[in-house]
């Protein structure tokens, strides 16, 4: 494929030559034709997009010169002179295949002109514009760039001033200076030198004592001692860790907030960096662990997982609206950019859409690296030993258990309390009446009920229920005969007027409430009594059932029957209504799931994973009734097996992979079950009754799960108990999904054997779930093989069950006055009051204050125990880190033009080929390739790794690197000012075992570093940018050491190291700035103001801006004011100290002495006479301090802290 942009320079040159020859002898008429008919069209319609000056050259095609037409663009030449009619240019004008210009078809005349012109041989006098074209880079030539050659050590240059160099590196610097005729600057005086070294190495100022000790140290080793002390200081890691974090674009959240992944444990990475630097972890190792810490050594040290934060803490972008592929590609790009600019000094991200235009980097190289990150997964992992994890898990289960004990106890107590609340019925009633009245005139008052509840000291929740109950539609209320007096009142009173102020009305309502209460009180003992005797028979399903069902029993299968509507079960099953929610036609049924994946919701908010029971993902099955013609219970009829043949089971028949959940509260509310009654769920015969589709090896697991809503959002206690094939099996929860754990009872087979279920249902149970799974032969290998499993005789029985005789006797002898209908209505009323969502069912949280003393006492004890186990749990530290793990190893396709929807050829994971001598060497790995990547980068064979870090270290000491574009060592980057020195340092660095501290020492002890920073006109005239380092560069402190220094000189600095990040803006924050929370979304104001880099992208250097907003901070901020006050407080505390001198000679501390003390702290030097006078003058004349203002001394302190001297390091 011939593409213009792939032409090499020589070929292009020959082309230009060829076109020039054509242009040299143009036919005048032909040119005339071109000029009048063709050129204007090109100019008007084409060149906006297709010329060398186009804002965006479309399709790589240039139509502003002849050779552009002939060589064409991305899809080939525009004009084919041999076959003019096939020229794409003409086709495009005719809208044949391509449509150009896009804004509208040109006139037929113009098209005809073009046809003629092309046939003429496309005469065109236009020269190729002198604009560089985006050529494909000549790989061989480009890879000859200095930075791709391995650094070699050269011999030390000869110098004349041989007594000047103190380190080898000085000879390189001096040699260049001597060549240029510049003398190096004298050594800085010691006060300046120590301050420079302190800020450089540990980011804090020296104390006056440290300064004096150094200044007065006669030893020739004095400076070496200081340097060594600083490099050994743990503050070194804090200072230099921050330099690295700039490169690693360290941040603890995302720029966006919509479903953003945050990094609360991000500080582990920051701390790892600090600690690694303090330990002088060899730089190659330092890099390897950040790229592939999880893959190094065996077993890997859990602490090392934090190192992976370099990539794990990266930005994560929006992945909504089909933009996932783009977002992922953006994320890989971030990782690649951070890695390659940060570590290799190469701008490889340029090759995301097209081959790099200047460096020998292709899109294949880019996607070869992207594949590594695409094959790595984000993972939060513990960075502690396994024993600690086990301890934590054990402590957690104890904690959860205790939490459940407390919750359940409260729950139980609250249930017992319910009947006692009958006394409050009139209060609730009248309060509800008030609320209903108020609503008439103020329908928008959303706080109404809350307010009334507060006024009347009632439960807001219960009051709402009362309002709903009493304010229900007339139709609903008519069904409640116990409300007849109320209904009558309502129908009589004015429904639009607010009557709550009317005393007579209030009295009437109160009377109705009291009567209602009396009615409840009247029926309550009967309920309680019968309950105590034998439990009540609320299991009326319909009259017909009553004859066949024993007292105290609720046959669940029968609940499906629809006594009124006549909907056959088959019809009911096929409707959405039936599946989604319980209604009158499916009384008690919460959900029916026909066929489900391994994980399914068995009840609201409760997810269960049935993998262990052999479910698969296929959808099949359902709750069945194969006695189709029999209205009534769900049944299944044995057809195939002799043992069961013809046997219709009374109960619930289910297909494989079906699930049905009953909402017991609904049964309670319907008056079918007393609210606080224990029940037993029984199934006489559960198993495979039939197998119409199976193969004879059919098998199933039948499970029953008892559950309730979670007591608290974060406590997973929804499952009360789970049974498989009749036996209790342990259920556990992980990540909000439950599953059966431990041994599962043997499979049920279609062999005529059945199991029984006998399951205690506590009063707090809300859901009862029956499950049938086709089990196949083992977990995960489910086959659909278990049609017609059955829960035969599935029923709820009161516990204890009433003695049948007693009931029978009672029924036989009872007064016929006991009207069944009446009985049911009473039961219903009691349920409305006492079931879990009932009118008097005070939630446990609110019930607490009303509990009897003994219960309260018990609760205190239980909570004490909870506190203890919680302490124990909290005490076990499981440190977590945001980390990476191996994903599915895969090679990415090259995305054409960077577009994820246009995949091209596959780019096998490998290093960019410029590192492998132009040959692609794909990594043979089943993993991500990170291990191989780390090895290739942290390697002596890599020409860039050592050079890039050496240059960065140099830069951080001198303000500029030897290469002044620290993250770009490519063609467009700067060339090193001292290439031999850079190589010398790089080789030496690697030879020293990649020791950063050795490198620092070498630099810090050099004569170059120790020079004065003062301006020298003679040198500046020759080298104004100080490229040759004839002096030290003066540098402004970055925000971190500036702020830290302020806290240090006021004596306030909290030197605690490591740990969770803190809000920098908090007024009590005295930690080093390194420990500030770094937000990608909203960077702290102080950091933002003082040139902290955007943590969304890797930063190669801090910009240094000088703007008034910064100085407003200096002049007016609370932070500065507080420091000024603290500095003076420190001064006062110091001077107030009793003097050690003989008491008779105690001089009053003079203003001058105090000023001297302040100068010592802030600048490490003594004030000059004039500075003293200035200070004294200021203090003498500054006006007295207003109450809330700053005293003259504090103002003086503010000035000292705000000076250039405090902000700049010489």
């Amino acid at each position: 494929m011939s593409r213009f942009i792939t032409l090499s320079v020589p070929v292009l040159m020959s082309l230009i030559a060829a076109s020039s020859t054509f242009a040299a002898e143009p036919d005048a008429a032909a040119i005339e034709f071109f000029e009048t008919r063709i050129r204007p069209v090109f100019v008007e319609h084409c060149q906006e997009c297709h010329s060398s000056s186009a804002a965006l050259l479309k399709g790589g095609l240039r139509l502003d010169h002849r050779e552009g037409l002939l060589s064409g663009g991305d899809s080939g030449p525009a004009i084919i002179l041999d076959k003019p009619e096939t020229s794409p240019l003409l086709k495009a004008l005719k809208y044949d295949g391509i449509e150009m210009p896009p804004k509208g078809r040109l006139s037929a005349q113009i098209v005809a002109d073009f046809e003629q012109w092309v046939k003429m041989g496309a005469p065109d006098p236009r020269e190729r514009p002198l604009i560089s074209l985006p050529l494909k880079v000549d790989f061989a030539a480009a890879s000859k760039l200095w930075s791709f050659q391995r650094p070699e050590r050269t011999s030390l240059p000869a110098v004349q001033q041989s007594d000047w160099p103190q380190q080898e590196l000085d000879r390189f610097i001096l040699a260049r200076l001597e060549q240029t005729g510049i003398r190096p600057s004298p050594q800085a005086e010691r006060r300046i030198l120590i301050r420079r070294a302190y800020f450089d190495v540990i980011g804090l100022p020296p104390t006056p004592e440290e300064v004096e000790a150094f200044v007065n140290d006669p030893s020739p080793q004095a400076y070496v001692t200081v340097v060594n002390r600083l490099l050994d200081s743990p503050h070194y890691g804090e200072r230099w860790g921050r330099h690295w974090l700039d490169i690693a674009r360290y941040g603890e959240d995302q720029a966006h907030t919509f479903k953003a992944r945050n990094y609360p444990q991000g500080f582990r990475y920051r701390d790892w960096v600090v600690e690694s630097l303090n330990q002088d972890l060899p730089y190659d190792r330092f890099l390897s662990e950040q790229i592939a810490g999880d893959l190094l050594g065996s077993p890997s040290d859990p602490k090392r997982m934090a190192a992976l934060g370099m990539f794990a803490l990266g930005p994560v972008y929006y992945q909504d609206n089909g933009e996932q592929a783009k977002a992922l590609a953006d994320e890989w790009d971030d990782r690649i950019d951070t890695l390659t600019r940060g570590v290799l000094g190469l701008t490889i991200s340029c090759a995301r859409c097209h081959d790099h235009k200047f460096d020998p980097i292709t899109t294949a190289d880019y996607y070869a690296l992207a594949g590594v990150f695409a094959s790595s997964d984000y993972q939060e992992r513990p960075i502690v030993a396994k024993e600690v994890l086990d301890q934590k898990a054990a402590a957690e289960s104890v904690l959860k258990e205790q939490q459940l004990l407390v919750d359940r106890f409260l729950d139980q107590q609250a249930r017992q309390l319910r009947p006692a609340l009958v006394t409050e019925i009139p209060q609730y009633w009248t309060a509800a009446w008030k609320a209903i009245n108020h609503q008439r005139t103020k329908p928008d008052d959303k706080q109404l009920i809350e307010r009334i509840a507060k006024e009347e000291k009632l439960s807001e929740l219960l009051l709402k229920r009362w309002v709903d109950y009493l304010n229900a539609t007339a139709e609903v209320r008519q069904q409640r005969p116990s409300l007849s007096a109320w209904n009558e009142w309502v129908s009589r009173s004015d429904s639009k007027q607010d009557l709550s102020g009317d005393a007579a009305a209030l009295a009437a309502v109160q009377q109705i409430a009291v009567d209602f209460q009396a009615h409840v009180v009247a029926i309550l003992p009967r309920r309680e009594q019968r309950f105590a005797e034998y439990g009540e028979n609320f299991a009326f399903v319909n009259e017909a059932d009553r004859a066949t069902v024993d007292p105290g029993i609720i046959p669940l299968g029968n609940l499906f029957d629809d006594p009124q509507g006549g909907i056959a079960l088959s019809a009911a099953l096929s409707t959405d209504k039936f599946l989604s929610a319980a209604n009158e036609n499916s009384l008690g049924v919460d959900r029916v799931v026909q066929g489900w994946g391994k994980q399914t919701q068995i009840a609201k908010g409760i997810n269960f994973d049935f993998s262990q029971l052999g479910s698969d993902q296929r959808a099949h099955g359902g709750v069945i009734n194969d006695g189709w013609d029999n209205s009534g219970a769900i049944r299944t009829q044995g057809q195939r097996f002799a043992a069961n043949s013809g046997r219709t089971e009374q109960g619930i028949g289910m297909h494989a992979n079906a699930l049905i959940t009953f909402d017991l509260d609904e049964l309670r509310q319907a008056g079918l079950m007393p609210a606080d009654q224990r029940f037993v769920f029984r199934v006489d015969r559960a198993g495979l009754n039939d197998d119409t589709f199976g193969n004879g090896d059919s098998s199933a697991h039948l499970a029953v799960i008892v559950s309730r809503p979670h007591r608290k959002g974060d406590v997973f206690d929804g499952i009360i108990a789970g049974y498989v094939n009749g036996q209790l099996v342990k259920t556990v929860e992980n990540d909000q999904v439950y599953y059966f754990s431990g041994e599962i009872p043997p499979l049920l087979k279609a062999d005529g054997q059945f199991v029984k279920f006998e399951i205690s249902i506590p009063a707090e149970a809300r859901y009862l779930t029956l499950v049938s799974t086709g089990a196949g032969v083992g977990p995960g290998e489910n086959t659909i093989s278990s049609d017609h499993t059955v829960f035969s005789g599935a029923r709820l029985e009161c516990d204890p069950l009433p003695e049948p005789q007693a009931v029978v006797a009672a029924t036989a002898t009872a007064e016929p006055a006991v009207d069944l209908q009446q009985q049911r209505l009473e039961a219903k009323l009691l349920s409305e009051l006492f079931y879990d969502q009932g009118l008097l069912a005070l939630p446990s949280k609110e019930a607490e204050t009303k509990l009897p003393e003994q219960a309260k006492q018990q609760l205190v004890e239980m909570r004490g125990e909870l506190e203890r186990v919680k302490k124990n749990f909290d005490g076990i530290q499981v440190l977590m880190a945001h980390s990476l793990t191996e994903g599915q190893g895969r090679n990415l396709p090259i995305y054409l033009q960077g577009n994820p929807t246009k995949p091209g050829g596959v780019a096998p994971r490998s290093m960019p080929i410029v590192f492998t001598e132009g040959t692609r060497l794909p990594w043979a790995t089943k993993g991500s390739g990170r291990a191989e990547l780390a090895a290739a980068i942290a390697s002596r064979d890599n020409p860039l790794t050592a050079r890039v870090i050496v240059n960065r270290v140099w830069r951080s000491h001198f303000g500029f690197g030897l290469v002044r574009t620290p993250s770009n060592f490519g063609q467009l980057g700067d060339r090193p000012t001292h290439p031999e020195l850079l190589d010398h340092l790089a080789v030496h660095f690697m030879d020293s075992g990649w020791s950063l501290k050795t490198l620092h020492r070498e630099i810090l002890l050099s004569a170059t570093y120790q020079q004065q920073s003062d301006f020298r006109r003679d040198a500046a005239e020759i080298d104004p940018e100080n490229l040759l380092l004839w002096r030290m560069n003066r540098r402004r402190l970055e925000v971190e050491p500036w702020r830290d220094a302020m806290l240090a000189v006021t004596g306030e600095l909290d030197r605690t190291m490591g740990g969770p990040s803190v809000d920098l803006a908090a007024s009590h924050n005295r930690r080093r700035t390194l420990y500030a929370f770094i937000s990608r979304h909203q960077l702290d104001d102080l950091l933002r103001l003082f040139d902290f880099p955007d943590p969304n992208i890797t930063s190669d250097k801090r910009s240094v801006t000088t703007v008034p907003l910064q100085q407003l901070f200096v002049l007016n901020s609370d932070f500065m004011t507080q420091r000024a006050k603290a500095l003076i407080a420190r001064l006062n505390a110091t001077t107030a100290q009793p003097s050690t001198a003989p008491t008779t000679e105690v001089p009053t501390t003079t203003v001058a002495e105090q000023i001297r003390t302040l100068f010592g702290w802030t600048y490490g030097r003594q004030p000059s006479e004039k500075e003293l006078r200035l200070g004294e003058a200021f203090l003498a004349t500054a006006s007295g301090s207003p109450a809330a203002g700053l005293s003259p001394w504090e103002r003086y302190a503010l000035a000292l802290l705000g000076t250039n001297e405090f902000s700049f390091i010489d």
């Binding site: 609206n321 007016n1116 003058a1177 103002r1195």
Partner: protein, 472 residues
């Protein structure tokens, strides 16, 4: 030496302009004022005081810079209707929605606008009843009905409209403008963002990303009415202007001495100058944000409320040379009318009069010609109903409008299809809009570049075409 009179300077801090350094220096007077104090030390150096502003100015990244070509507009006011205003209920009349009512459309059933439209001005521009005041300026408006963007989600949509990228990794429009053109007032930030609280996403919307930090927008909470509180640390809580001047003179005296010892240093000088600028800014910025200084009639014209206040502050700021003011309609995303499109009535009511007043006020001051007003949100809303009465996010066709600053007034440009779903005629994407804004400001969007990460970045990335048809 009698030092007493040295610091005897008391000035009313709230007297406008009372505290410029020059005046304080003059007031100190009598040969031995503040100047005398500074010279106490400065005498050691070759008169740094005089040359400071010059060397510092050359180093000032916010100094005004020439445009690529003569600009049509010198400043921008971007009225941002965050949440996404519905186009079919405001400026893109779709009678066909009535006919299609209840029929299935993308995301729901078509719902005609509950608002009446009428034609306004000589141009006969169709505007809904939501904008009774603004519609009187129909002939000033250049309504673009053919906008489209990438994503119907707030955060990416906001990023796209503000930075040309839906990820938070690019500088904002205002950052690019101040980078390209600097600012004409060194005592105020060049790019000011007014929002009572924060819109969704927040500061990243006016972030500088890889551009130098000086170009980030300065967020001002315009629900705060105290002009002293609007810029961080603008107000000194402890010292009056005189005391503060005295402190600053001490500080500068020490800085002068420090500089003198070290000879020439541009950065030291810049910081010295910058301290003086900060001092002045305290008073000038407060003045700029103080709408109480406006004539009563002007304040009445704008009406009441945060947004009206914001419009008035915006005018005061551009009047003082601020390059771009972005005014968010409110905190969060008020225009996000999922539940009930009638909520637009509330938002239009609170903004209509103020926007109209802004246009009128700028015009009467002769500033409209050089001030580009832009109105719009991150996207539009679905012509189909969401729920019973609401509209969902919609990105394939929506409306923004411009006024002043070199755009054609009374022009309706581009069109969506009959039902307002897709932009079909003269389609304009966000990059085109950005390219056109830069063009109006005298900048070639392909040449306004910043070298970063090995390549030249642009606001429009590799996209964007200037829409010449809307230029006046």
């Amino acid at each position: 030496m009698n030092l007493k009179p040295l610091f005897a300077t008391h000035v009313d801090p709230y007297l406008p302009g009372a505290c410029s350094r020059r005046q304080v220096l003059t007031r100190a007077g009598a040969g031995f004022g503040m100047l005398g104090l500074r010279s106490l030390l400065a005498a050691e150096s070759p008169a740094t005081l005089d040359k400071i502003p010059i060397s510092a100015a050359s180093n000032n990244p916010l100094a005004p810079r020439p445009a690529h070509f003569p600009p049509r507009a010198k400043r921008v006011i971007f009225l941002f209707m965050n949440g996404g205003p519905s186009h079919v209920d405001t400026f893109d009349y779709k009678p066909a929605l009535k006919e299609q009512e209840g029929k299935s459309g993308p995301g729901g059933k078509f719902m005609p606008s509950p608002f009446q439209f009428a034609k306004y001005g000589q141009s006969g521009m169709e505007i809904s009843e939501l904008y009774p005041h603004l519609s009187r300026h129909a002939d000033d408006l250049c309504v673009i009905r053919s906008m489209h963007t990438t994503t119907p989600n707030h955060e990416p949509g906001l990023f796209m409209m503000n930075s040309g990228s839906q990820q938070p990794i690019r500088p904002s429009l205002g950052s690019w403008l101040t980078y390209g053109l600097g600012s004409e007032n060194q005592n105020l930030p060049g790019f000011v963002v007014l929002c009572p609280g924060k819109p969704v996403v927040g500061p990243a919307l006016w972030g500088n990303s890889f551009l130098p930090g000086i170009y980030q927008g300065t967020h001002i909470n315009n629900s705060k009415i105290d002009p002293r509180q609007v810029i961080g640390h603008l107000n000194n809580k402890h010292l009056n202007a005189g005391d503060q001047r005295q402190l600053l003179d001490l500080l500068q005296a020490m800085n002068d001495r420090h500089l003198a010892d070290r000879g020439q240093d541009v950065e030291l000088e810049a910081r010295i100058a910058s301290l003086e600028m900060a001092y002045r800014m305290q008073f000038e910025a407060q003045e700029a944000f103080d709408v109480s200084r406006e004539e009563e009639s002007t304040r009445t014209l704008y009406g009441e409320g945060e947004f009206a206040n914001g419009c008035l502050i915006a005018r005061r700021l551009v009047e003082r040379g601020v390059r771009m003011v972005q005014l968010y309609y409110g905190a969060g995303q008020p225009w996000d009318a999922h539940g009930d499109i009638m909520d637009h009535k509330r938002d239009a009511l609170k903004s209509d009069q103020a926007i109209a007043a802004l246009l009128q006020d700028l015009k009467s001051r002769g500033m409209l010609e050089e001030t580009l007003i832009l109105w719009g949100g991150e996207f539009g809303r679905t012509p189909a109903a969401q729920g019973a009465k609401g509209r969902d996010h919609h990105h394939t066709g929506f409306t923004v409008w411009m006024a002043g600053g070199g755009v054609k007034g009374g022009l309706t440009y581009g069109a969506t299809d009959d039902v307002g779903v897709h932009a079909v005629e003269n389609r304009m994407d966000v990059h085109d809009l950005h390219a056109t804004i830069l063009h109006l400001m005298g900048l070639d969007h392909t040449k306004l570049t910043y070298r970063y990460s090995g390549r030249d970045f642009r606001l429009t990335d590799v996209h964007g075409t200037v829409t010449n048809a809307i230029l006046a």
